[in-house]
Amino acid sequence: MAIRETSARHEALGLDEDDLHRMHYHMLIARRVDERSWILNRQGKAAFVISCQGQEGAQVGAAYNLRPGYDYLYPYYRDSGMTLLLGQTPRDQLLSLLGKKEDPNSGGRQMPGHYSSRKLNIVTTSAPVGVQFPQATGTALAFKVRGEDGVVLACGGEASTSGGDWHEAMNFAGIHKLPVVFLVENNVYAISVPAKFQVAGSIAKRAEGYGFPGVEVDGNDVLDVYEAAREAFERARGGEGPTLIEAKTYRMTAHSSDDDDRRYREREEIEEWRQKDPIVRFEKYLMEHDLLDEERKEEMDAEIKAEVTEASEYAENAPFADPEDVLTGVYAEN
């Protein structure tokens, strides 16, 4: 009963077995690359780590609607689940982690997590929180001006809604019904600041004040996020304008490798959320529907771990850019 009911779910969403396996695969590979990053940090090889852990479901569920290289993505620094789904590789991620010359995001110039790919239309990610939102509306406006059906996905954490840029973008998107989807990954903390000191009222509810839909979804349920995002992308492609999605999730690691979260949150709280791990939950769903068994899972995990290990070795052995390289590329040439 419960099964038949839920089995209706992914089918009702038009997702076939391949889709589900791709989702699962990319959630897991994002997790494993992240875990490897912390190991490299503890080994003193990686200066800085910032994690996706806990948010892979929200990321893969939302980004699954993107047409790579056509639609645009403005990710934020935790969205490795998205960039891997679009086509970046563990190698890319770890080359960036170690700041090597081959880092496809920035050639060793930016911190890890600051994604960029011209080919995949992943717009160069910034560190200042929130700046991506006005930019995303402009990118969406370009599609509208040219009469194209492209969509822009713009992402941030809950604190990225506190700055003025978020509001200015929401208002502009609402006025011109721009094809943009705002995804807020509300993971409860902004470094040490809990959401109650960060967000008044409700982020999702605010959309109504701008004249477009806002929905709150279970960010640890990849299908729930996918469903909301699919509708949002359809609205955008259909010229009906923007949608705001607030994915309720949780930051399972410290803010970054520079942060000690024991200063400001209880271990119990983290434990509670571990029970809701989006990957575990999705695997349970897949198993309930006989789309995954322990054996297949071990197999896939082993493949992934092997790929990540290979990527790590490659990245560790890869050269840094020449120091003088800092002097180049300040201005673009015609």
Partner: protein, 328 residues
């Protein structure tokens, strides 16, 4: 060939670029139906429509931020900041975003946007329609800052700015919008960014100036020539960042005496950079100290006309300074 003032020349440059390149757009406050508070964009919305000439909400960070987003998706936006004094909300999008897109993505992305901003003291403008904001932006690699003064230069340079693959801050001194007219070619002609202009050859002293101060300096230079036989070479940077050091230094080495004039608050202004470059690289040629003349270090500029006039470096003060330098 028709004679045009600065305002008309910039308008014409914009219109021509929009005609020849569909990706060029104009966005800002009141740029559409009203044609801009100074009328620079007058008629553009009628000709190009509400989308390519868009009235934005009152949100400068959005204006520049969305321009950035347009540019990464194939457009060439020209963003208007109604008054330069109101550019601070867009500071982050200009300094941290537009200027760094190319560098931080290791060349994968670039940000070809033009930001127009009317600056400088104007009667009635008071404390928030008067500021000279150059210095805020001339310490930012990746950004170009231009400030043409003459109509013909301005028409060509707005085009060069739009065609430039980098973000360009295009400064227009409000008080020079209608101050003079000169012949402005119809056809397409080039004035490259990053090149200074020598307006007047001279062997005694060099004056470096731009905007309203440039006009005054050229006037006074004529006066000194007639009345004292002092020959002033007047150099206009035209681009404030990156600077055309070569042209400035050539003149400095030739005359051995340099005065830098700007309407900005003196301390911390772009004049300091120019003076420092000359003092360092033309040291052996200098027959006198590199002098600077600017506005006093008080907010620009009080509303009451007599107070405003006192704030702006006058022809008298400029003549004094030029004479002091010539006689040094």
């Amino acid at each position: 060939m028709a004679t045009k003032n600065l305002l008309q020349a910039i308008h014409e440059g914009l219109a021509e670029e929009m005609r020849s390149d569909e990706s060029v757009m104009v966005l800002g406050e009141d740029v559409g139906r009203a044609g801009g508070v100074f009328r620079v964009t007058q008629g553009l919305q009628e000709e190009f429509g509400e989308q390519r000439v868009m009235d934005t909400p009152l949100a400068e960070s959005l204006i520049v931020g969305s321009a950035i987003g347009l540019s990464v998706n194939g457009m060439r936006p020209v963003a208007e900041i109604q008054f330069a004094d109101f550019i601070p909300p867009a500071f982050d999008q200009i300094i941290n975003e537009a200027a760094k897109f190319h560098y931080r993505s290791n060349g994968a992305w670039s940000c070809p946007i033009t930001i127009r901003a009317p600056y400088g003291v104007v009667p009635g403008g008071a404390l928030y329609h008067s500021q000279s904001i150059e210095a805020w932006f001339c310490n930012t690699p990746g950004l170009k800052v231009v400030a043409p003064t003459y109509p013909a230069d301005a028409k060509a340079m707005i085009k060069s700015s739009i065609r430039d693959p980098n973000p360009v801050l295009f400064l227009e001194h409000k008080r020079t919008y209608r101050l003079i007219k000169e012949e402005v070619p119809e056809e397409d002609y080039e004035v490259p960014l990053g090149k200074a202009r020598v307006h007047r050859e001279g062997s005694d002293i060099t004056v470096v100036a731009y905007g309203l101060m440039l006009y005054t300096a050229i006037e006074v230079a004529g006066k000194l020539s007639e009345e004292h036989g002092i020959e002033t070479e007047v150099v206009e940077p035209r681009t404030l960042y990156p600077l055309d050091k070569e042209t400035i230094l050539d003149s400095a080495k030739k005359t051995g005496k340099v005065l830098v004039i700007s309407e900005a608050n003196l301390t911390g202004s772009v004049s300091g950079e120019i003076a420092a470059v000359v003092a360092r690289e033309a040291f052996e040629w200098l027959d006198g100290p590199v002098m600077r003349l600017g506005a006093p270090d008080v907010p620009a500029a009080a509303f009451a006309k007599p107070m405003m006039d006192y704030f702006v470096p006058s022809a008298e003060k400029i003549e004094e300074a030029m004479l002091e330098l010539a006689r040094y």
